[in-house]
């Protein structure tokens, strides 16, 4: 009896470990999800808080793609997310112009803000086909590239009548959160740390399809 219980527990643990490494879906092997969103649903938001004021803004021009083996995400996940610098909006037109100007992010010279995945760790299954992980990547902003860590949630939805209303194919929802220091990326402005926080919180919330 003891042997049966022990082997059951071991097999359950092995199953949990196997499932935590990937998604339990029909699709097999390497899958590429493209984040080409025509509806403007994909978004990257930023938040700055100072004594003077809180600034929140958003870009809906977020594209890119990720590729991974559905059974082994941790060692196969790779891809890049691209945010158009010129698409950043903060709710005040004049401030948006400042953000894009050469004094701040210089959208003309550096039109893209990118995040390229380099490593995945601590993959954990939250619920069926929803995984969390700590993703390391090369974040490029204002022409400077630095390594950043991001807590990421990946949600895999198999194609259904519901998902077809949004996009064709299986869908992958990606939510990522990380912080950067603008001064680390060569942004030097007298208002930095006063009107605009040096530490900026970035949240990415995007949906991709493997049939685009």
């Amino acid at each position: 009896m003891k042997t049966i219980i022990r082997s059951f527990v071991v097999s359950m643990l092995l199953m949990a470990v196997t499932l935590a490494g990937g998604f339990n879906v029909k699709a097999t092997g390497s899958q590429t999800f493209s984040f080409m969103d025509k509806m403007g649903r994909n978004q990257a938001t930023f938040f700055s808080t100072t004594m003077l004021e809180d600034i929140s803004g958003m870009s809906t021009d977020v594209t890119g793609n990720v590729t991974f083996d559905v059974e082994d995400i941790e060692s196969t996940l790779e891809g890049e997310i691209i945010i158009s610098t010129a698409s950043l909006k903060s709710g005040i037109d004049l401030r948006d112009e400042h953000i894009k100007s050469a004094d701040w992010l210089d959208a003309e010279q550096f039109p893209e803000i990118t995040f390229k995945i380099t490593d995945v760790k601590s993959l954990n299954e939250v619920k069926e086909n929803m995984l969390t992980a700590r993703v390391t990547g090369e974040f490029t902003c204002h022409g400077v590239t630095k390594e950043v860590y991001s807590d990421v949630t990946l949600t895999y939805l198999v194609e259904s009548e519901m998902t077809k209303m949004k996009m064709p194919g299986d869908l992958l929802g990606v939510r990522a959160k990380f912080n950067i220091k603008l001064s680390d990326f060569g942004v030097q402005h007298m208002a930095l740390g006063k009107k605009v926080a040096d530490n900026i919180e970035i949240n990415v919330n995007i949906i991709g399809s493997n049939k685009m």
Partner: protein, 81 residues
Amino acid sequence: MLTGLIIIAAALLFWLTNGAEIFTKTAVLVEKQDELFGTAYKEWENKFIPGLDITAAFAVLSIFTSSVLIYLFKNKRKESI
């Protein structure tokens, strides 16, 4: 003068009850629910939120108008005497 003070007080009250923002906003981020993924996402919503900039400008304009009116009334009273 009293009318001017009431207008300034009303403008400040309007500013305070509308978020007390430093700068005037024409759009705000509102949270929406993505039922498919069960997550929240944000959308821009056109909304006018007066900032301290526009409220201060309005207050200065009220003070100026009140001062001009007080000056004109005083002069008129002097002329009539």
